[in-house]
Symmetry: C2
DNA sequence: CTGGACTATTGGCTAGGCCACTGATCCATC
DNA sequence: GATGGATCAGTGGCCTAGCCAATAGTCCAG
């Protein structure tokens, strides 16, 4: 409604709570000193004093770390580190290694191939309409000389929805941010958007025909095509 | 080292911290009153009084809920709910629906088939040795009339390791607890452990021969066999 | 050598208080 | 009328001070 959004205002200024900073300090301290599972943090009273905060605030930070699974606080004993760290999250596991593009492609292939197959079996007419709509959007986007990143995501989201599996959708969502990176890379290649659109059409047709094998094959080929770029880029460095 | 573990001692007694109970109460309260994203929690002072805890404790509970992403606490304004809930975690998403056995099988099929394929391409001799060892363990286990649940897990873990993909391994780990349930079901069927062992041998042979397609096919058949039971059980109720 | 009592250490939780931020309202100014 | 400043009530942020409760180690009696 705002009459012409004014470019981009400074920034909403990300303000942090004290406990967040404290938690941050503690984790860096853990990393720097190379503490491992089973090691103990200093007593709350001492740690609070050293960090210059009250015990209450430190306690909040420990609650946060406990929820995330970095430490476990034991009444009367102390605060000990767990081995888990925050490794329970898939994405972070990868981000740590920075460039695991091949692995991303592996899992994407595994999931999307299955998703395509299921979509061919389970899709409703509405699902199909959504998929077709995303194809149109991508075609239009390319017409305008755009790369069609959004439309690309829209297509994959529509197919995923058509598979009617919450778990698969959930897992895809978890690695979505990783996939997005490779997606942008790929679509930046000259002529790639058009190839991608062709691939999408093949997948859509197989789903329309309710042919699981063809859908899986088409999706597999599509993911492979994308991987070319990503892998190439990987070797370049 | 303990001379003969004494069956199963009572229970370590799961003690909970007050803030956990408070957080629990708040979430149930949210659910019962059907609060949605954007709605506000009562002021801390009032809420603390109503729950019969101090503001400090309530604050800890709110930190926990904030870390999990249920609420966002705004200084000077109030505590508002986010729409995210705890849906970021795959396992919990499923546990909520309790019996999503078919979905678990879908994703297991997607991941393990790919893993088998990769294992066939990338396995080292050591990987193969580990896989063979798990087969021996399962055979021995069955000899003893056991169901071989542990050996079964060991086999799949060995294959996963042979795929040399941290991301896939990580994702498998995320849904491991869910798979375990279906695994126990399956192996409880009479004669099933032996069938399972045969399936494992076929997979191992394909990996030994470095034949990705055969490995994928064998794994797919294996997962399908397991699904029979699980799906059957699903229909029974 | 076992079992119980004691004690120092450490976290759990509360009470009460002051400060900082937010949003609404009102009003002086232009 | 619109703008910008001042004010105020409500709300969270964080602190101090203190007592309670659990733990683990020590020591002693049996």
């Amino acid at each position: 409604m705002t009459p012409k959004a004014p470019a981009e205002l400074p920034t909403p200024l990300a303000r942090t709570r004290l406990y967040e900073q404290v938690a941050e300090q503690i984790t860096t301290w853990i990393r720097q000193n190379g503490l491992k599972a089973g090691d103990r943090l200093p007593p709350e009273r001492e740690l609070a004093a050293r960090l210059g905060v009250s015990r209450a605030t430190l306690s909040q930070a420990l609650v946060a770390l406990e929820v995330v699974g970095v430490v476990v606080v034991r009444h009367g004993d102390g605060t000990v580190l767990t081995g888990k760290h925050s490794e329970s999250r898939i994405v972070e596991a990868i981000r740590a290694h920075a460039d695991r593009m091949p692995e991303i492609i592996d899992i994407r292939d595994a999931l999307e191939t299955k998703i395509a197959s299921l979509a061919a079996q389970r899709r409703t007419d509405d699902d199909l309409a959504a998929i077709d709509a995303s194809l149109d959007a991508m075609a239009a986007s390319i017409e305008h000389g755009d790369r069609g990143v959004d439309a690309d995501e829209q297509f994959h989201a529509a197919v995923t929805a058509a598979a009617h599996s919450d778990l698969l959708a959930q897992t895809m969502r978890e690695i979505a941010s990783l996939i997005r990176e490779s997606r942008i890379e790929s679509l930046s290649q000259p002529g790639r958007p058009r190839n991608s659109l062709t691939g999408h059409r093949a997948i859509a047709d197989a789903i329309r025909a309710r042919d699981p094998e063809a859908a899986a094959a088409a999706m597999h080929a599509h993911v492979e095509m994308v991987s070319d770029v990503a892998l190439l880029r990987e070797e370049e460095r």
